[in-house]
């Protein structure tokens, strides 16, 4: 609306406005012109005054002036005229000089900025100046701001894409157990379903709900990754029973896959600092991967061994292994190798990304050694001192 009223105004007073713009509005610097020209104008007025009111003082001053300005050869009146013309010329030259040196660069900066903005800053023309002064600085600053705006915009786009990919994957992950639940209910509602079958369905429903809970926990944990150690609660614990409980939980899965799970722990308790919930999630993912990617008849070995004041936790398998080129990519968000896709097509590519984040929040790196066709070993350390 504002713009419309402005247009109307511009149309109504076009000639006036043009003049107005030419002399003053184009740059606030016009005020500078007036200010710098004031002494010159004052001098002009003084001369005019002296010229029109002859007297002793006038004669004396004009004599000096005409001598100094080498206009003695003319009649004094012509000399005054020349002076007046010179003043007017000086005024115009001053005006255009200031316009040229100060207003013009600002105008081209404006044009440049408008062009850049019209393309939403995606197509930014070359910066209009190489000046080293204040205007140059301003131009540089504007240009740098545009660049950083672009960068932020780009980052936001990437972030947005990642978020949407994350949402898609999360939704797809939930869809499988959700289908199981819907189909189970469909079956439960069927009068033909026997009591035995119903009982079995209840157990299946329980399993699917637990799977959904796990997926939801993963989603929440992944969403929190950018938050660093926020929300971590470190407490002194014994990791051995935590692992034993996990192995017990995996029993049906490992039996189903015909993979034997072994646990090797040294005698005695070695207390470490960990966020129990998160480290359990990380261990869950490592063990789950090891079982899934190990062929039937293979072995998964989980070991716990003290090294100085740290405890090394390792999950080794006799699985298909990871190629050397894939190892650096393993922990990237959403990354899934071609072969992993073949074994478990509906994986999220979030597991190891999450594991690395949890482990690094515990102050450790993830180590991976692997040989294709022989097996892989994932290990990390937990500290006996509280991580900071």
């Amino acid at each position: 609306m504002k713009d419309v009223s402005r247009t109307v105004e511009a149309d109504e007073f076009r000639p006036l406005r043009a003049a107005h713009r030419f002399f003053s509005i184009r740059v606030k610097g016009a005020y500078v012109i007036v200010l710098t020209m004031l002494p010159i104008m004052a001098a002009g007025y003084a001369i005019a005054y002296l010229y029109w009111t002859p007297g002793d003082l006038s004669t004396a001053v004009l004599g000096v002036l005409s001598e100094r300005l080498f206009i003695g050869g003319f009649s004094t009146r012509v000399g005054y005229l020349v002076l007046a013309v010179l003043f007017v010329a000086a005024w115009f030259i001053g005006f255009f000089a200031i316009d040229y040196f100060f207003a013009q660069p600002l105008r081209s900066l404006t044009v440049w900025f408008r062009q850049a903005r019209s393309s939403e800053f995606t197509n930014v023309p070359v910066m209009p100046t190489r000046r080293q002064d204040e205007i140059g600085e301003l131009t540089h600053l504007v240009s740098a701001s545009v660049a950083s705006f672009l960068k932020t915009k780009e980052q936001n786009t990437v972030l947005l894409q990642e978020k949407s990919l994350f949402m898609t994957i999360a939704a797809h992950q939930l869809r499988t157990p959700l289908t199981g639940l819907l189909w189970s209910i469909d079956s439960l509602l069927d009068p033909a379903t026997t009591d035995d079958a119903r009982q079995k369905l209840m157990i299946d429903i329980d399993g699917m709900l637990k799977r959904m809970r796990l997926i939801v926990n993963h989603i929440l944990a992944s969403a929190n990754v950018e938050g660093g150690k926020f929300g971590y609660v470190f407490e002194q614990i014994d990791i051995v029973p935590v692992i034993e409980r996990l192995i017990e939980e995996f029993k049906p899965v490992s039996d189903d896959h015909a993979v034997s799970v072994r646990f090797e722990a040294s005698d005695g308790i070695f207390p470490i600092y960990a966020d129990t919930e998160r480290i359990t999630l990380a261990l869950f993912d490592l063990i789950s991967n090891a079982i899934d990617y190990t062929p039937r008849g293979g072995t998964v070995t989980i070991s716990v061994a003290p090294q100085n004041d740290r405890l090394e936790i390792a999950v080794a398998d006799t699985g298909m292994g990871i190629s050397e080129s894939e190892i650096p990519l393993l922990f990237t968000k959403f990354y899934r190798s071609e072969r992993a896709r073949h074994v478990r097509p509906d994986g999220s590519g979030l597991g190891l990304f999450l594991v690395k984040d949890v482990v690094s929040s515990h102050g450790s790196d993830m180590s991976v050694t692997s040989k294709e066709g022989v097996g892989s070993r994932f290990s990390f350390f937990l500290n006996s001192k509280k991580p900071h």
Binding site: R175, W183, V343, R344, P345
Partner: protein, 121 residues
């Protein structure tokens, strides 16, 4: 009797659907990955395949391509039964001359069986 092959890697979902198919007097068999599905196709010659897309070893897209490439199976009817519902995916498989596309989470086993029945009515 109409022979239906169910290619679905989730054993639980497979068992539920298999039971409903058998209850409706279809001759039904289950494959738990893409490679197995193709093998069964070759030896058993099903009249219809209910095909999941995300499966181990060979995914549903590969299975479809293989089926259509072989003269024996190029006419075998296929209903895709997947949880991938994006237009991109449906367009991709519709090129293979399929008899239907069902999204698992949007369809109950009873509805799947009803759909199969209409094909052979």
């Amino acid at each position: 009797m109409v022979k239906v092959l169910l290619a679905e890697d989730d054993a639980f979902l497979s068992s539920l659907l298999l039971r409903d198919l058998l209850a409706e007097h279809f001759e039904a068999s289950a494959a738990y990955d893409g490679a197995q599905a193709l093998e069964i196709c070759k030896s058993w010659h099903p009249d219809l395949i209910l095909l999941d897309l995300l499966m181990p070893k060979k995914d549903g897209f590969e299975v479809l391509a293989d089926l259509r490439a072989s003269p024996e199976t190029e006419k075998t009817r296929v209903i895709v039964l997947s949880n991938l519902g994006e237009a991109e995916t449906t367009e991709r498989v519709k090129k293979f001359n399929i008899a239907g596309y069902l999204v698992k989470a949007e369809t109950t086993p009873h509805e799947v069986v009803a759909k199969v029945k209409t094909l052979f009515a």
